[in-house]
Amino acid sequence: MMSTETKDIIDLLAGIEPGSSLYDIRAKRSQAYENAQRSYLALFEPDDVSDVTVAERYAVAAFVAGIHAEPATAGFYSEKFAGAVDGSEQVAVLRAEIDGAKTQGPYGAFPTGPLSVEDKVGLIYRVAGESQRALSGRLAAALEHAHLLVFHPRDASPAAMQRLLEAGWSSTAIVTLSQLVAFLSFQIRTIAGLRTLSASLGHRADASAKAG
């Protein structure tokens, strides 16, 4: 099922056009450029979906992008998720979960000791019973783990791994799930950062046009 997606996702969502100065700067890191896209393809158009289904991947991505409250990436992945599932119930349930899961990070506890003064308490997100039934216990466990990784990764523990194993995630599936959430944390920030830089270049171009 390789690859229908030819457009570079970071360029697409950051609004970077070929021929622009940011496009040329990105092109100088050609390995980083190509492999950020290959990472996206490895996670969303994989050769092997026996450990994690494509619908599960897009559900987690729509959730992760949604709780980051970044409109461009949230819209992109939520559309992908809607296209990967039958019916609209799961899409509506996921949207409601995103609304209830938003908070501010990073927070969490350090190993007990001198750093404990920096411990910050925050939301421990759990999917309620009704939503669990609509999404499946397995997907609900993945969303809870994704929330932990996005907002308070320093609270991660063997107990969190155990919850995933009990919900039907194998060790290999947990590696893929962790890469998925961690990759998105990178991709979403790269897009947000480049979009901000791109906007500042627009301002500067406008200013010099006016000055000229």
Binding site: K28, N35, P153, A192
Partner: protein, 202 residues
Amino acid sequence: MSDSIVVHAGENQPVVFTQQELGWLPWLDPLAGAALTERHWAGLVDRSRAKSAYFRLLVRDPEILEARTKTDKDIFYNIADGLPRAERELAAAATSRYNGCIYCTSVHARFATVHSKRGEDIQRLLDQGVGADLGKRWNAIVKASVALASTPIAFGQQHIEELRSAGLEDAEIVDVINGAAFFNWANRLMLSLGEPSTVVDA
């Protein structure tokens, strides 16, 4: 259920940020060296990475590991243009300090010290946190990294302006964004798949 977690005694867990070399212990079983196929070797990129429990765990999904490793190397090691290596490592260390990854911070604080020769400033970042005063240029890089690591993302025009007024060109600002963004990937793997140890593997 065939898979299970690996629990460590935790008695050698570091409790402060340090530039000392640390070990890392996985909470899930890495693949055994003898079980690695050609597909896995391609995922590891460098054969020497098979010695690391971290990479032998990640290689359970070889395609994403390969693409991630190549992204990582180009962002940090391709110094043909753009930001000096020391300051890419500073962005990585600041991001890791803010997210709370003691292991990642130790590695990239050490690299930042080696490349900048400013070990005392790096140690102040570790001891005091991301608010430590490291001079105008480094402060701008740390602040931009922290804003980008926050959720929701707090990176805005004021961070671009501060980086520019500290002397960074656009290509260097892209390196700050790439380096800081990448450590939001790395920190989440290191923090959630295992734990650091003051005992370094033999």
